[in-house]
C-alpha cells in the first residue's frame, strides 16, 4: 500500500490521494478502535539511567560539534521516553547540571585564558595612561578576547538550539506548568553566570563581563579617535548582550545590554563629549564646531546601527544634544568672528544650516540662533537707519551755510533735495536687500522655520519702527517708483517691486502716518500728472487694501474717484462752453480737478503758513472770468457746495510772443504753473522796458510769498527759462528786486516747460514740515482714539479702565500704536464732554452716557 518507489512529487501525491479512499474503505470495515501498540513499553529494558547515559554523551558530542554522527530522532525519542516515564523533571535537572559543568569546565576556561594581562591592567583606572604602543597592544589583545567571547557565545547558542530541539518534548511537558523556565532560558542564565560573571583569575574581583565591557568601550573610543575597528565583531558581541537577560523572565528591558552595557556606554560618551565640547570651544571656530558636531551625530548614528544596537540611538543622541550641543551652542553662536554673525555676514548658508540643525536638536525654539539672528538684523537695520539719517544731515548743514550766503541758496537747495530723497529711497532699497538676504538664509538654511520667520519679521519691525521717518521714506519710495521707476518695466517686475514695498509696509506700525504721506505724495502725482502709470497706481491700492484693509485705502480711493469725476466734469464743461460761449472770443481750455476737501491732504496745497490766513490768489481778468463761468456751471449742477480754488497745484499752457530788438517776432509755447501764468499775464499790461517790483507783483496777485519767490526764481533766475529779467541780477529773489519781460528769451525748443524750483517734486520733509505733520497726525489720532472709545463704550455700556485700554489698543493697532497717555487724555476729555462717566460705586470703571 505505501510506496517505496522514489518517484517525483507528482507520483507521490497522487499515490497518497489514491490510496486515501482505498484505505478508508478497507479500514471502515473493521469498525473497531485499535489500541495503540505500546512501542515504548515494548522496550522495558531501557530504564531511565541507561537512556540518560546515551543522551548525556550525545549532548557532549553536540558541544564538541560532532552532531553529524547523531540521529536526532534517536535523541528525541530517548528524551521523549524519559518524559513519558514521568521523569521529565529529573531529565531537566540533569541537563541543567550537565550544561553548568560544560560551561564551567570548558567555556569559562577558554574565555579566561584569552584575557591577556594587559586587558586586566587596563581595568585599573590608574594605569590608564595609554601610550600609543600600549593602546595598540591592548587593542590587539581586546580583539582576540572579543573574538573568543563571540565564538564561545555563538557555539553556546548553536548547541543550545540543538539541545533544546532534542529536548523539545521535555520543554513542552515541563514548561507547561509554568513553574520552570525552559531549558534554553536556563542555559542562557548559566552562560551569563558561569562565563561572563566568572572571575578573570581565580580569586580576582574582576569579572569577564567587566573586561568585556571596558574592551568594547575602548574599541569605541578608538573609533571616535579615527581608528578603524572591527565593527561586525563588536556587533556580534552586542547581540550576545542582547540575547542575555538579568532574570529568567526575560523581559525586554532586562537584557544585559540595556541593564549594564548601555549605561556604561552612555556615561563614557557623556564624558567624552563633555571634553570634546570644551576642546572645540577652545579652538573657537564656530564652523569647525558645527562641522565636528554634525559629524559626531552621524558617526553615532552609524555606530548605533552598525556596531551597537539601533535602540541606543535616541539615547546617545540625547547625550550628544546635552553635552556637546546644549551646553555649548549658545557660546558657539556668539563666537566672535566665526559665530552666526560672521556666517550671516559672509552668507555662509551651509554653516547656518548646520547651526540650525544643531540648535533645533536641543531647542524647539532655537532660541540661541534666533536671538543672534534677530540681533544681527537689528544691528544691520540700525546701520541702514543711521546712514539714511546721516546722509540728509550733511546737506542740511550745507543749507545753513547757504542761508548766510543767500546767493547759493537756490542751487544748494536743488542739490539738497535730491540726496535726501535718494537716501530715503536708498533706505528702502537697503532694507529690501537685507530682507532678501535673510529670506534667502531663512529658506535655504533654516528650513523655512516658523519660529525663525517670526523672529526675523519682528526684528525687521523693530528697527524699521525705530526710524521715525520710515513711513515717509517708504511713501517716497513708492512715489519715486510710481513716477519713474516703473517705466520700461514689465508688469511682473512692477508687481514684484510694489510687493516688496508692501512687505515693508507690513512692518510699519504707524500706518496712519504712512497713509498721510502716501496721500500727500499721491496728490502731487495725480494733480501734476506725474504718475507713470495709472494701472500701477491702482494695483498699488489694491495691494494696500489686501495688506492693511479697506478702511485704510478708502480715502485714497476717493482721491482716484475725484480724479475721474473731474475728468468728466471738465469734458462736460467744455461742451457747455462750446454750446453757449461767444464764438468770437478765444476760448481758454480749462481742466478742473474738483476735489473733496476731506479726502485730500489739503496742507499740500493750501499753505496756511505760520498761522496766517492766506488770501485767495487774485486772478487776472481772463482767468477770473473763466473761473466764474465754471463756478456757475458747477454750482448749477451741485447746489450748496463751496468751491475754493487752489492755484498752487495747477499748470497752464500759454503762447508767448517775444519781440526781438531787430523786429523779429518769436513765439514759444510755455508750460508754466498757474502762479507763473498769473505773474506773466501781469506783464501783458506792462509796456516794454518797464518793470514791476517784487512787492508790486505780490500786491497784484496775492500769491503767497514763499510760492511767489519760488515761481519768480524759475522765471527769472533759472538759466534756461529766463522769461523775465531781474534787476539786480542775482540768484536770490529779494522784495526789492525789479522784474521786466525778457524779449530776448531763447530756447532750442518751441515748447518750454518751466518747472517750479523745488516745488514739484516730492521730497523728504524738513523739520518744520515734519513737526506740522506730526501735529496733524496727533490730532487725527486723537479723533480716532475718541471714536474707538465711544464705539467700545456704546457697545459695552460699562467697562473697567484696563479693559477699555486694551480694547482701544487692539482696535487701533492696525493703524498705529496709540500712546497710552493720549488715550487717557481722551478718556478724560470725553468725561468732561459727558460722553462717559466714572461709576461711583465701582472704582476705575467707566459708564457710557447715552
Amino acid at each position: 500500500m505505501a510506496t517505496t518507489s522514489l518517484g517525483s512529487q507528482f507520483d507521490i501525491s497522487k499515490a497518497v490521494s489514491n490510496h486515501h479512499t482505498i484505505v478508508m474503505a478497507a479500514m471502515r470495515a473493521r469498525h473497531k478502535i485499535r489500541a495503540p501498540r505500546r512501542i515504548v513499553a515494548a522496550a522495558p529494558t531501557e530504564d531511565f539511567d541507561t537512556l540518560w547515559n546515551v543522551l548525556s554523551s550525545s549532548l557532549t558530542e553536540i558541544h564538541t560539534k560532532n552532531a553529524s554522527t547523531l540521529s536526532f530522532e534517536e535523541l528525541y525519542r530517548n528524551a521523549y521516553r524519559m518524559v513519558l516515564m514521568m521523569r521529565g523533571d529529573d531529565l531537566y535537572e540533569r541537563v541543567k547540571s550537565l550544561e553548568e559543568n560544560w560551561l564551567r569546565n570548558h567555556v569559562q576556561k577558554q574565555v579566561t585564558e584569552s584575557i591577556l594581562p594587559i586587558l586586566v591592567r587596563a581595568q585599573n583606572p590608574q594605569s590608564l595612561t595609554d601610550v600609543q604602543d600600549q593602546s595598540n597592544e591592548r587593542r590587539a589583545a581586546g580583539e582576540r578576547f572579543l573574538a573568543v567571547v563571540k565564538e564561545a557565545w555563538s557555539d553556546h547558542l548553536l548547541c543550545m538550539g540543538m539541545i533544546t530541539d532534542v529536548l523539545m518534548y521535555m520543554d513542552r511537558i515541563t514548561a507547561a506548568d509554568r513553574t520552570k523556565p525552559s531549558i534554553l532560558v536556563v542555559s542562557m542564565a548559566l552562560f551569563r553566570d558561569h562565563v561572563l560573571r566568572a572571575p578573570v583569575r581565580s580569586g580576582s574581583d574582576i569579572t569577564v563581563a567587566q573586561i568585556f565591557e571596558s574592551t568594547v568601550l575602548f574599541m569605541i573610543q578608538l573609533e571616535r579617535e579615527g581608528h578603524i575597528i572591527d565593527r561586525p565583531l563588536i556587533r556580534n558581541c552586542m547581540y550576545m548582550l542582547e540575547g542575555l537577560y538579568e532574570t529568567v523572565a526575560e523581559e525586554e528591558s532586562s537584557t544585559l545590554y540595556l541593564a549594564t552595557f548601555e549605561p556604561a556606554f552612555l556615561s563614557t560618551s557623556r564624558d567624552f563629549y563633555k571634553e570634546e565640547g570644551a576642546r572645540l570651544l577652545e579652538v573657537g571656530d564656530a564652523a569647525t564646531f558645527c562641522r565636528v558636531a554634525s559629524q559626531r551625530i552621524s558617526e553615532e548614528h552609524e555606530r548605533c546601527h552598525y556596531t551597537l544596537v539601533a535602540q541606543t540611538e535616541p539615547k546617545i543622541g540625547e547625550v550628544l544634544n546635552e553635552e556637546l550641543i546644549r551646553k555649548n551652542i549658545e557660546e558657539v553662536v556668539r563666537l566672535e568672528g566665526t559665530g552666526v554673525r560672521h556666517m550671516l555676514d559672509q552668507n555662509q548658508l551651509d554653516g547656518l544650516r548646520t547651526v540650525y540643525t544643531l540648535n533645533s536638536r536641543v531647542d524647539e525654539k532655537k532660541s540661541a540662533l534666533t536671538s543672534q539672528v534677530s540681533k544681527r538684523i537689528v544691528e544691520l537695520g540700525m546701520e541702514i537707519n543711521t546712514s539714511s539719517i546721516a546722509a540728509p544731515q550733511a546737506p542740511a548743514s550745507a543749507e545753513k551755510d547757504a542761508g548766510s550766503e543767500k546767493k547759493e541758496k537756490g542751487k544748494e537747495k536743488e542739490k539738497a533735495v535730491n540726496p535726501q530723497t535718494a537716501s530715503a529711497i536708498k533706505w528702502v532699497d537697503d532694507i529690501l536687500a537685507l530682507k532678501r538676504q535673510f529670506d534667502n538664509v531663512w529658506e535655504k538654511s533654516f528650513q523655512s522655520d516658523q519660529n525663525l520667520h517670526k523672529s526675523i519679521e519682528d526684528s525687521f519691525e523693530e528697527f524699521i519702527n525705530k526710524n521715525t521717518r520710515s513711513s515717509e521714506y517708504l511713501s517716497l519710495f513708492f512715489d519715486e517708483n510710481l513716477k519713474k521707476g516703473i517705466k520700461g518695466k514689465t508688469e511682473d517686475e512692477v508687481d514684484a517691486l510694489l510687493d516688496n514695498g508692501i512687505t515693508l509696509l507690513r512692518y510699519i506700525k504707524d500706518k496712519d502716518l504712512f497713509e498721510t504721506y502716501y496721500k500727500k505724495h499721491l496728490a502731487r502725482r495725480l494733480l501734476l500728472k506725474r504718475s507713470a502709470s495709472m494701472d500701477a497706481e491702482r494695483q498699488m491700492i489694491s495691494k494696500m487694501k489686501m495688506e492693511v484693509g479697506n478702511q485704510f485705502t478708502q480715502r485714497i480711493e476717493a482721491m482716484f474717484k475725484d480724479m475721474t469725476v473731474s475728468e468728466d466734469l471738465s469734458a462736460s464743461y467744455k461742451e457747455h462752453i462750446r454750446r453757449s460761449g461767444d464764438p468770437d472770443k478765444k476760448p481758454i481750455d480749462l481742466d478742473v480737478h474738483v476735489l473733496t476737501s476731506t479726502m485730500w491732504p489739503m496742507e499740500a496745497m493750501a499753505k496756511a503758513r505760520n498761522g496766517q490766513v492766506q488770501l485767495p490768489c487774485i486772478f487776472p481778468r481772463e482767468i477770473e472770468n473763466l473761473k466764474q463761468s465754471f463756478e456757475k456751471f458747477y454750482l448749477d449742477k451741485h447746489s450748496g457746495r463751496k468751491i475754493s480754488w487752489q492755484a498752487g497745484m495747477g499748470s497752464a499752457d500759454i503762447r508767448a510772443t517775444f519781440q526781438r530788438s531787430n523786429g523779429k517776432t518769436l513765439r514759444y509755447e510755455l508750460n508754466v504753473s498757474t502762479y507763473m501764468l498769473v505773474i506773466l499775464l501781469l506783464f501783458n499790461d506792462v509796456p516794454d522796458g518797464e518793470s514791476l517790483t517784487f512787492e508790486e507783483i505780490q500786491e497784484h496777485t496775492c500769491i503767497p510769498e514763499y510760492d511767489l519767490i519760488r515761481n519768480l526764481q524759475s522765471l527769472a533766475v533759472a538759466p534756461k527759462t529766463r522769461i523775465l529779467k531781474k534787476e539786480p541780477m542775482s540768484k536770490d529773489v529779494k522784495p526789492t528786486d525789479r522784474f521786466s519781460f525778457n524779449n530776448d528769451f531763447q530756447s532750442a525748443f518751441m515748447k518750454v516747460r518751466i518747472g517750479v524750483v523745488a516745488g514739484g517734486a516730492n521730497k523728504v520733509e524738513n523739520q518744520d514740515q515734519r513737526k506740522e505733520t506730526e501735529k496733524k497726525m496727533n490730532d487725527e489720532r486723537g479723533g480716532s482714539i475718541e471714536a474707538a472709545i465711544v464705539r467700545i463704550m456704546k457697545q459695552r455700556k460699562k467697562l473697567g479702565h484696563v479693559g477699555l485700554m486694551n480694547e482701544v489698543l487692539t482696535q487701533l493697532s492696525a493703524r498705529f500704536v496709540p500712546d497710552v497717555n493720549m488715550v487717557k487724555k481722551r478718556i478724560e476729555s470725553l468725561i468732561d464732554r459727558e460722553y462717559l462717566e466714572r461709576l461711583e460705586d465701582e472704582p476705575a470703571t467707566y459708564g457710557y452716557i447715552a
Binding site: 471502515r28 485499535r34 552532531a67 540521529s71 530522532e73
Partner: protein
C-alpha cells in the same frame, strides 16, 4: 547525500520499514521533523534528509503523510472539508501527533 539538505523532498521511514517521500515543506509542519531537519544543527537526519521514526508504524505514518499533504494543499484556505480518519487509527494518530508535535 550532502545535496539533500537543499533537496525539496525528504524521506520519512516508519519503524516497519515503509518509506514516504514527501515535500520538505509539507513534512516541516511537524515541529519534531522540522527540528530534525534543521540544517544549522547538522544532525544526521539534517545531513541525509532521511528521518527514521522508530515509534510510528507504516499505517499511521501514511495517515500522517496524508495529513501533511492535506495541510499543505489547503494551507491558506478557509472552510476546508474535514479529513476522514478511521476511528481505529485515532489513538495511534494522537500519539504520533504528540510525538511529532503536529
Amino acid at each position: 547525500m550532502a545535496d539533500s539538505i537543499q533537496s525539496e523532498f525528504v524521506t520519512l521511514v516508519s519503524c516497519d520499514g515503509f518509506e514516504f517521500i514527501i515535500p520538505r515543506s509539507a513534512a516541516c509542519i511537524s515541529g519534531t521533523i522540522r527540528r530534525m531537519l534543521d540544517p544549522t544543527s547538522k544532525f544526521s537526519e539534517a545531513l541525509s534528509g532521511r528521518c527514521v521514526l522508530e515509534n510510528i508504524t507504516g499505517i499511521v505514518l501514511e495517515k500522517v503523510c496524508e495529513y501533511f499533504m492535506y495541510n499543505e494543499k489547503h494551507k491558506d484556505q478557509a472552510n476546508v472539508a474535514d479529513m476522514e480518519i478511521q476511528a481505529e487509527l485515532c489513538l495511534e494518530l494522537l500519539m504520533a501527533a504528540d510525538y511529532l508535535d503536529t
